[in-house]
Amino acid sequence: MTSILTNSFAKGPDENGHFGPYGGRFVAETLMPLVLEVEKAFDAAKDDPAFQAELSRYLAHFVGRPSPLYFAERLTQACGGAKIYFKREDLNHTGAHKVNNCIGQILLAKRMGKTRIIAETGAGQHGVATATVCALFGLPCVVYMGAVDIARQQPNVFRMKLLGAEVRPVTSGAATLKDAMNEAMRDWVANVEDTYYLIGTVAGPHPYPVMVRDFQKIIGEEAKAQMQTMEGRLPDTLIAAVGGGSNAMGLFYPFLDEPTVKIVGVEAAGKGTETEEHAASLGKGRSGVLHGSRTYLLQNQDGQITEAYSISAGLDYPGVGPEHAWLKDAGRIDYVAITDDEALDAFHRTTRLEGIIPALESSHAIAQALKVAGSLPADHILLVSLSGRGDKDVNTVAQAMGTEL
C-alpha cells in the first residue's frame, strides 16, 4: 500500500495520499470525482511557473513575506540556557500563518473555475484568512463555525462579516471545529459543481494534507535561510504547536531530512492529559478514520469520536494531520503536551519580556521552549514557530485572569 522511501522523511505521501498507513481519501462517493479533480489541478499548478509567480507576488505584497526570524533575547536571558528564536508568522497580514495556505488555495480554486468558497473554522483565524482572500478575489464565502466557538471568538466573527463572508453557526454535536468540518463537508456534497472547499489545516482527504503542507512549507524554507544568515548554521531544535498541524508541518517539512535537527510538536494538554479534558490526539489517541483520512483520533473504545478540549480554540480538535501521525510512528518527531496553565504563563512572559502578544496556540510552543531552554547549553538554538498573534485571545486571557474587560 505504501511506497514511501525509507531513506527520506520528506518523500510522502504516495500517489494515493498515504503516509505509511495514514492519510488516504475516506470520503463519500459524491465527493470522489471532485477530490480527484482538486488533486489534478494542484499537481498541474505546482509545476506551472505562472502559478508559482502569482503565488509569490501575493505572498510578498499582500501577506508581507518573508516574515522575520527574531532572536528573543530577553526570554533567552530569563531562561539562562539555549538561544530562543521566533519565526514571526504573527506578523503576516491577518495575523497568523493561515493566510499562506488561503492565498495558495484560492488561486487554485480560481484556476479550477470554482465560483463559491466554503471553509470551516475553530478559533476563527482560518475563517478570517479565508474571508480575506475571498474579498480580495471577489468570491462569495460561507464559513461554518461551531456555535460554541462563535460565542468565544466574537471579534473574529465580526471581522469575517466585515469582510463580506457569511458565518453559519453549527449547532450539531458539540458545536465546535469538528462539527463545523462535518457541516462544511455536507455543504460541499450538495454543491460540488461550483463550490471549492478551502480546508485550513493539513487534514482532510488527499490531496489536502500535502497541498496545505506545500503552501505552508515556506515557513521552514525561509527560517532555514534566515538562520543561516544569522547564525551560519541549522537550528538544533524546532518547536511548533500542533492542532491540525499546519504551522508545524510548514516549519518542520524542510528540516525532516536534516538528521542533526531535533523536532518537537506540542499538543494541547488542556487541564492535563491524565484528565478527560485535553486535545492530545497523538499522545492519547489511536488510529482511526475521520474527515477523509486515517490518523490519530481521540475516540472511545467503540470508535465514537470524543470531544477535544483546550483553552486555545485553534488546538481544540480531536484529530491531527496524517503526516504527523506517520512522523510520530516513524520516530522522527517527538510529540509532547502543554497544559492551559503552562501556555498562559508563556503568554504572559512573552508579552511582558518581548513586547509580543502571542496567540494561545503559539503560546503552547513557547511554553515548551521555556520548559527546556534552561537545561540546554548556551550554544543550543531553539527555533519556535510563533504562528499567530494573540489579539484575538485577550478576552479568553482576561477570563482566565478573572478580569472583566
Binding site: A28, E29, T30, M32, L34, M185, R186, G288, V289, Q299
Partner: protein
C-alpha cells in the same frame, strides 16, 4: 466469482424473488438503538410485516458527515441510549431468531468498524446474520482494506453511485460492488432534496449498461408517491429520513418513546409499501 460467493446471500435471493414478482423492493432504514434498544428491536421486528423487503440498520456514529438533520439526530439519540457495535450486532441476532429471510444491511461510517477490527467485524456480522454492509466514507480507492474480508464471510460490500459517478468512474465502483448498487439520486445529504423521477430513470438506465446488479435508489424519497415513482424505474426504493421523522414525532419531552411510536412508524412503512407494490400495475 463475487457472484458465486454471494449466490446464497439473502440479498441475491430477495432481488431474484422481487424480479419474479415483477415489482420493485422497498428498503427501509432505521438506526440501531434509536430511540432505545428495546423500541428499536420492536420496530425492526415489525418491518417485514409492514412491507419492508430489505432492512438497512444504521450503525450510529458521532460524525455522520453524509447525513441530514433527521439521521444525525437519530444517531445522537441512539448513542445517548448506549448504542455500540455489540448492541447493533445483538439487535441483528435477535431479529434472526424470528426472521431468517429478510436481508439486513448495516449502514454507517468506517471508524466504528475500524475500531472494532475489520476481520472481527466481518466474522461477527456474518454470524449475527448480516447480509450486506454500506460504509459511506469508504470509496473504491480505500475499499481494499474492507471489501475482501467482508466478502470472505459472504457479506456483500454495497457500493454507492451518485450523479457525479460518470461512465469512466462507474467501472471502478462496480469492481468492488456486491449485492446491489445504491444510487444516491441527489447531490447532497440524506433527507433533503428529492430528485426528479425522469432524471433518476436516465441515471438507472445508464448504470444498467455497466452492470447486472440490481439498482436501489435512495436519498430524498419521502412519500408513498415518491417511492412509487422510483419503483417504476429502479429495482428498489430506499426510505430513511422520512421514517425517522415519523419516529421522532412520537417522542415525549424527555426524548422517550411514546406507546404509539412503533405502530405509527410501521403504518407509514405500510403506506410506502403499498406505493411501491402498486407502482408497476
Amino acid at each position: 466469482m463475487m457472484t458465486d460467493i454471494l449466490k446464497n446471500n439473502r440479498l441475491t435471493r430477495r432481488f431474484a424473488k422481487l424480479a419474479s414478482e415483477n415489482r420493485a423492493g422497498l428498503v427501509i432504514y432505521i438506526a440501531a438503538s434509536d430511540p432505545d434498544a428495546e423500541t428499536s428491536a420492536k420496530l425492526l421486528a415489525g418491518l417485514p410485516g409492514a412491507g419492508a423487503d430489505i432492512i438497512e440498520l444504521g450503525m450510529p456514529f458521532t460524525d455522520p458527515m453524509a447525513d441530514g438533520p433527521a439521521i444525525q439526530r437519530a444517531a445522537l439519540r441512539a448513542l445517548k441510549a448506549g448504542a455500540c457495535m455489540d448492541h447493533t450486532l445483538a439487535q441483528v441476532r435477535g431479529f434472526r431468531e424470528t426472521d431468517t429471510e429478510t436481508p439486513i444491511v448495516l449502514m454507517g461510517y468506517y471508524n466504528p468498524i475500524d475500531s472494532y477490527g475489520v476481520e472481527r467485524f466481518a466474522k461477527d456480522a456474518a454470524q449475527a446474520g448480516v447480509d450486506g454492509v454500506i460504509v459511506v466514507d469508504v470509496p473504491p480507492e480505500e475499499a481494499d482494506e474492507l471489501q475482501p474480508p467482508l466478502l470472505a464471510q459472504g457479506i456483500a460490500f454495497i457500493c454507492l453511485a451518485t450523479p457525479t459517478s460518470d461512465d469512466a468512474r462507474l467501472p471502478q465502483i462496480l469492481k468492488y460492488a456486491g449485492g446491489f448498487l445504491y444510487y444516491v439520486s441527489i447531490l447532497g445529504i440524506t433527507g433533503t432534496a428529492t430528485a426528479a423521477a425522469d432524471a433518476v430513470e436516465a441515471a438507472v438506465k445508464r448504470i444498467k449498461r455497466h452492470t447486472q446488479l440490481p439498482v436501489a435508489v435512495g436519498f430524498g424519497i419521502k412519500t408513498p408517491d415518491n417511492a412509487a415513482a422510483i419503483a417504476r424505474v429502479a429495482d428498489a426504493a430506499v426510505v430513511g429520513s422520512a421514517v425517522i421523522d415519523k419516529l421522532a414525532a412520537c417522542l415525549d419531552d424527555q426524548g422517550k418513546a411514546k406507546p404509539e411510536l412503533v405502530p405509527t412508524a410501521l403504518a407509514f412503512v405500510a403506506d410506502l409499501a403499498k406505493g411501491v407494490r402498486g407502482a408497476r400495475k
